[in-house]
C-alpha cells in the first residue's frame, strides 16, 4: 500500500483580475469571467519561479509531515516552466530541503499532469520497497502570450506530496489514460504555448478526464456517489464543473477542491493544489477521486481514502493562505513576469 504522508502548497501572493487583463485588450471582462468561471489569477513575484515555488511547497510538506528529509529517496518535479531547459529543478528542491545526496531526482514534463506522473512514480517506488519516502511536486509559473485567451487563466503556484507506506491518506489505486493528441504545445525555445482553441475541449480534456475517471471507477467497482470529494484538472473553472456533471458528480463534491476561479490555472500545480485543498478539510474515512489532465494528452486518476492520521496532522489551510493577496495592474504584472527583460 502507498499513502500520502504529507503535503504542502504554495501560491504567490500577487493577483491580477480578469477585468484588468480584459481592459488592456478591449474585451468584455464579464463575459470572459462568466465564460471561463475565473475571476482573478495568481502572479509570481519578480524573483519567483518554478524552483522557488517548488521549494516553498516542499518545505511545507516536510514540516507538516514531520519526517526526516534524509529519508526521502526520490524527488520529481513536474512543470512546463522549469527555470532551466537543461539542469534539474529537482536538485534545487532536494538541496533546499536537505534531502541530498542519497536520492534520485528528475524533472518531468507532461503539460499540466507532470506532477501527478511524479506521484505515480513515487507510489511505484514505495510499493516496490526501493524507497521509504518519495516527493512529487507539480508547480508552474504558467506561460501565456500577451493577448491570448490563456492569459486570463495562466497562473503561478504548486503543491508537493510526500508518498510513503502509511500516512494521512491511502492511495487505493491509480490508472492513466493516454493518447497522442496535439491540443496544446510549446516548441523548443518558444516563450509561449500554442493551442488548438476549441480542440482543447471535447477530444482533449473531456475525453481523457472522463475515460480515466470511468476506467478507475470501473476497475474499483465504485460510482460517483461513493466519493466525498472529486478533483478534476482546472484549466478554467468551467471545465471541471462540466466534466463532473457529465460523470454524475454533484457540485458539492468538487467545491472544496476548485481553486481555479480565484487563482487561475497553475498548470502542473492545478489538480495537486485542488487535492491539497481537499485534504485541508477532509475527515477520516473521506474518499477522494482525483483526475489530472495534461495536454498532449493524458489523465492520471487516483482513488484515495483519508485515514485517522489526518486528525493529528497539522493542516496548512490553503484557502487562508490565498486570502493574503495583493492586486497588481497589467503593467506591474508584466514586470513581475519579467516580460520586459
Amino acid at each position: 500500500m502507498a499513502a500520502i504522508v504529507g503535503y504542502g502548497a504554495y501560491v504567490p501572493r500577487y493577483r491580477i483580475k480578469v477585468e484588468e487583463i480584459a481592459r488592456i485588450w478591449g474585451k468584455q471582462a464579464a463575459s470572459i469571467s462568466s465564460g471561463l468561471y475565473v475571476f482573478e489569477k495568481s502572479v509570481p513575484g519578480i524573483d519567483e519561479d518554478t524552483a522557488t515555488i517548488s521549494v516553498e511547497a516542499a518545505r511545507r510538506a516536510v514540516k507538516h509531515a514531520k519526517i526526516n528529509p534524509k529519508e526521502i529517496g526520490a524527488i520529481y518535479v513536474g512543470s512546463e516552466s522549469h527555470p532551466y531547459a537543461v539542469k534539474p529543478t529537482a536538485t534545487i528542491v532536494a538541496e533546499a530541503i536537505e534531502a541530498t545526496p542519497e536520492l534520485t531526482a528528475a524533472d518531468y514534463e507532461f503539460a499540466c499532469k507532470a506532477g501527478t506522473a511524479g506521484m505515480q512514480n513515487c507510489i511505484a517506488l514505495v510499493k516496490s520497497n526501493m524507497i521509504k519516502y518519495g516527493m512529487a511536486i507539480g508547480a508552474d509559473v504558467a506561460q501565456a502570450a500577451p493577448g491570448d485567451a490563456l492569459e486570463y487563466t495562466a497562473a503561478a503556484g504548486g503543491a508537493a506530496f510526500i508518498i510513503g507506506k502509511e500516512g494521512i491518506a491511502e492511495i487505493n489505486d491509480t490508472i492513466s489514460f493516454t493518447t497522442d493528441t496535439p491540443d496544446f504545445w510549446r516548441r523548443e525555445g518558444e516563450p509561449y504555448p500554442g493551442h488548438g482553441e476549441r480542440f482543447t475541449g471535447e477530444p482533449a480534456y473531456f475525453k481523457h478526464v472522463m475515460n480515466a475517471a470511468k476506467m478507475l471507477m470501473e476497475k474499483l467497482g465504485t460510482k460517483p456517489s461513493d466519493y466525498d470529494y472529486a478533483v478534476f484538472h482546472q484549466p478554467n473553472g468551467k471545465f471541471p464543473m462540466r466534466v463532473a456533471k457529465k460523470l454524475g458528480f454533484e457540485k458539492k463534491q468538487i467545491e472544496d477542491g476548485l481553486l481555479c476561479p480565484i487563482i487561475g490555472n497553475t498548470y502542473s500545480g492545478s489538480s495537486m493544489l485542488g487535492l491539497a485543498a481537499v485534504l485541508d478539510v477532509a475527515k477520516a474515512g473521506s474518499r477522494i477521486i482525483v483526475v489530472s489532465y495534461g495536454s498532449g494528452a493524458g489523465s492520471d486518476a487516483f482513488d484515495i481514502t483519508v485515514t485517522d492520521k489526518i486528525e493529528e496532522y497539522e493542516r496548512q489551510g490553503i484557502r487562508k493562505m490565498l486570502e493574503n493577496k495583493e492586486y497588481v495592474d497589467y503593467a506591474t504584472y508584466m514586470k513581475l513576469r519579467r516580460e520586459f527583460e
Partner: protein
C-alpha cells in the same frame, strides 16, 4: 558571482547553515572556520548550525538606484536583520510594500532568485526575508 563560489555556498544560501563555536557557543553566519573569540581553542570544534530563519529588522534602506545586475528590480528593501540566534544578516525584504517595512518587524527567511548570469548563464538562488506569520 561565479558558479563555483555559488555552489560552495549553497548550504548557507539555501538553508542558512552557519557555524557554532563548540567552545563558547556563539553562532556565526556566514560560516567561519575559527571563532574569532576563542581562536585556536575553537579549531576543529566549529559545528554546522542551521539558523531558524526567524529574525527582527534592526535597520533597513530602500534601494532605488541598484547595481546593474538588479536593474529593473528596484525599488527594493535591503535590511539588516538580527537573527534569533544572535547573528546579523543582510537580506532583501520581499512580499510587502516598502511602507510596511519598519525597525522591529519580525521576518522569516524564504528562498528566492537572487540574480542570474544573463540569459545564458546560471541562475543563483538564495535567502531573502518576508514578514513572519507570527
Amino acid at each position: 558571482m561565479g558558479v563555483a563560489r555559488y555552489w560552495r555556498e549553497i548550504p548557507a544560501r539555501y538553508n542558512l547553515i552557519g557555524k557554532k563555536c563548540g567552545v563558547c557557543g556563539k553562532v556565526y553566519f556566514p560560516p567561519r572556520i575559527v571563532c574569532p573569540k576563542c581562536r585556536r581553542k575553537s579549531i576543529g570544534k566549529m559545528e554546522d548550525y542551521k539558523l531558524s530563519g526567524k529574525g527582527t529588522v534592526e535597520s533597513f534602506t530602500v534601494i532605488r538606484v541598484p547595481p546593474p545586475e538588479f536593474e529593473g528590480k528596484s525599488p527594493y528593501v535591503m535590511a539588516l536583520i538580527k537573527m534569533d540566534e544572535g547573528c546579523y544578516l543582510t537580506g532583501q525584504i520581499v512580499d510587502c510594500s516598502i511602507d510596511e517595512v519598519h525597525i522591529g518587524m519580525r521576518v522569516e527567511a524564504c528562498l528566492r532568485r537572487i540574480q542570474e548570469d544573463g540569459k545564458r548563464g546560471a541562475i543563483y538562488y538564495g535567502y531573502k526575508f518576508r514578514k513572519a506569520k507570527e
